[in-house]
Symmetry: none
DNA sequence: GTGGTCTAGACCACG
DNA sequence: GTGGTCTAGACCACT
């Protein structure tokens, strides 16, 4: 089961939105290892987007090791997604660290940040 | 005193880098209210950047209320920068909130995030 | 005795992998002259691969003179595999020559290459 | 000074030929760090190839760290190409190693291989 | 002018 | 049917 959505009006490129959408689906477990992705043409039809754009997204996903493509068969979630999950985790944490650093330099107290975070787990 | 740096190799537009650079200089107190910004021509020379790009950045800064320009004299940091600081603070905090939400959905524990933040104040 | 393995995830076409696999089995002596190859249906079952793909590989092997097929009986390793072995040898050597040429142009010393090769016979 | 050639009749994709061509030009020192590459449109015109294909090649080159692109300015050889050269060297050597391993298994003697290599430095 | 993205439509090899 | 490559032509933001 997958849920891929894009906003064609966004300034973020469609293919990047696709990459991110599939990536989070995999990381959050909505898509399982070796599960087939929708075919390029099918997804292009569903989202009313040009197949080339889907293709570009799938190529980038394969480059990142999130997906593997078998010409003539289809595209599939990678068999081993542990690395992908770990990389994603580190990426998020380092983004938070960078942002927190900006916050500190901007005069925001540690308590304010931690309060903000605590709200989400309440 | 100002510290404005840009990386021409970055994919972030130069004018955006300029806006951000001035903005953080103001928020962090490196630039005081009513302090003059470097002239367009001077900064263009220092950074080896097209004056049009500097102009675009200054216009955006004025639009955001961070500086004001006096025709024939130049651009100056806004007299009242409290609003700017508050807006910046809220922006940072909401970015952290959004990122933490992603982290939560991706299976990152609250403790990991808080540890990451605590490191910066250690 | 044969050892034929294919990797469906590889971007190299499966039928090419099959050709190469049989070829090296013959060259390395794992398969003897006049030894029967597994039947198309049997191998297709074992490898979970479309029989058409096996058929395509066997046809290519016959075209290269590595096997011969007897209608109604099956495919067999060629009676005289000396030519096959010689051709394979020349192919490998010319590939090494081409690669070494690239290495030379890229500033790699002869010693580095010979060291690399010596390691394998150590 | 650069010399980029492609063979549209080859079965190797044009964009891959472009990547390889630029890569070897950089590795062999024909193109220096921070030297501008021909613009996408210009090269497309010279080679009578669609700009999209050039673009795809440049994107791949940037991904590999061989080139950096500045939207609105152009594409340039990376400032630091030491890593690129080292990676290329290792790639070539490991390809030679793999090939030599095949040679050994196929019954080719070490002397034959070394003779082949010695010829190139004669 | 530059690189980057997108659409439309075509062709190919593979299974 | 599939993914992959290519062409033609368009639009965008940035310099």
């Amino acid at each position: 089961m997958y849920r891929i959505i894009v906003d064609v009006k966004s300034r973020k490129p469609i293919y990047e939105q696709l990459v991110e959408s599939v990536k989070t689906s995999v990381v959050k477990g909505f898509m399982k290892p070796d599960e087939p992705l929708p075919s390029v043409r099918q997804l292009a039809g569903e989202l009313a987007i040009n197949p080339n754009t889907i293709q570009k997204a799938y190529a980038e996903l394969e480059r990142q090791g999130i997906v593997y493509s078998v010409p003539g068969k289809g595209s599939f979630v990678s068999s081993d997604i542990k690395e992908v999950k770990d990389a994603h985790k580190n990426e998020i944490l380092s983004q938070i660290e960078e942002l927190a650093e900006h916050a500190r330099e901007g005069g925001i107290s540690k308590e304010e940040i931690i309060d903000t975070i605590n709200k989400l787990w309440r």
